[in-house]
Point group: C2
Chain length 202, copies 2
């Protein structure tokens, strides 16, 4: 035997792969899926186009990985808030706020995750992503109903309405020009979400 990957080499490759995913995520957040060509992504990562294929079998596979990482983070964060401390309505309110706040902080990424035109493989991931979001919201709504805090309702539809509403508000810039406007937007959005779930007006 004359060559065997040393641990350092393995971790260097792993790091290169991570770096590629990170750069690809930035490019996608910046210019959208449709403009994120293999060349653009490779350039951003400082490698040649051909090298991308050392880490992923196809552009679609890279795109799916980028989506999964980013979407996974969001689901995780939202999940922690929604199953955390507080009564169901408090959690719901904080969940909407966190979801929206994070999306506003990285609007490009939020748009890419929620709505931007993308290849079919990413579209399929997106469906799954939305379903997971919906499941999280639906669970809290059900708890609220069970606890008597919310009126009886179809929790799945309320959850779908919440994700749809937040996405719609975030995707099309309604405001959020400055810090005050952003606060107001978040407050109005949260209020609408709570009304939608049937929580008594604060």
């Amino acid at each position: 035997m004359a060559y065997r990957k040393t641990p350092a080499e393995i971790s260097r490759l792993e790091a290169a792969r991570e770096r590629l995913i990170g750069c690809a995520t930035e490019v996608v957040a910046d210019v959208g899926w449709s403009q994120a060509s293999v060349n653009a992504v490779a350039d951003a990562a400082g490698i040649a186009a051909g090298s991308v294929y050392q880490h992923f079998p196809s552009k679609a596979a890279l795109a799916v990985e980028v989506f999964r990482r980013a979407a996974g983070r969001e689901v995780e964060v939202l999940g922690e808030v929604l199953v955390g401390a507080g009564d169901p309505v408090e959690r719901l309110s904080r969940g909407v706020d966190v979801f929206a706040r994070r999306a506003l902080e990285n609007r490009g990424l939020a748009y890419a995750l929620l709505a931007a035109p993308a290849e079919p493989a990413v579209g399929a991931e997106r469906l799954d992503f939305r379903r997971r979001y919906r499941a999280l919201f639906a669970e809290v709504v059900r708890e609220g109903v069970a606890a008597g805090q919310l009126p009886p309702q179809n929790a799945e539809i309320t959850a779908a309405a919440l994700t749809g509403a937040i996405g719609e508000v975030l995707v099309d810039p309604l405001g959020a020009a400055d810090e005050d406007a952003t606060q107001q937007l978040l407050a109005d959005l949260t209020a609408a979400a709570l009304r939608c779930a049937g929580a008594p007006t604060a």
Copy 2:
């Protein structure tokens, strides 16, 4: 002079154009924008691919026309309901019902209008379409607030929430398997919409 389009010829051409738009709409509703190639559309209309360019300068122009026609019909129908007879809350309720019912009746078209991956030109039209929908809903909400039927709120956000919610529910099949399930879905959706606007529970 040896040739001049006769009125009959002109209307024949006009009819061919209309037929092309109609067939293209069907193809899009059937297989989505991304699969609706010039060849597929031309085949459906029973003409050669090249003939498409007698009526439209590019595929994008045809796609935009298809979108505008279909979206225009929906906006018109919704508009008639929302500014029709009845108090604001009644109109809002009927508007949501009509919007959703029509989308369920032609789910493929609804998906194409609301969410399906599409080329940039169609994406721009879609933004405009959503804005018009939102404006219609927002106006009714404002009237409801002015009439004291609805609590004070950011009408734009409520309107965005309504369109987002309806779109989300319709795009991802939640049910609507049979006639009864469809009725239930519509009822639940309308209820969620009214709660979202802050209307007292019926």
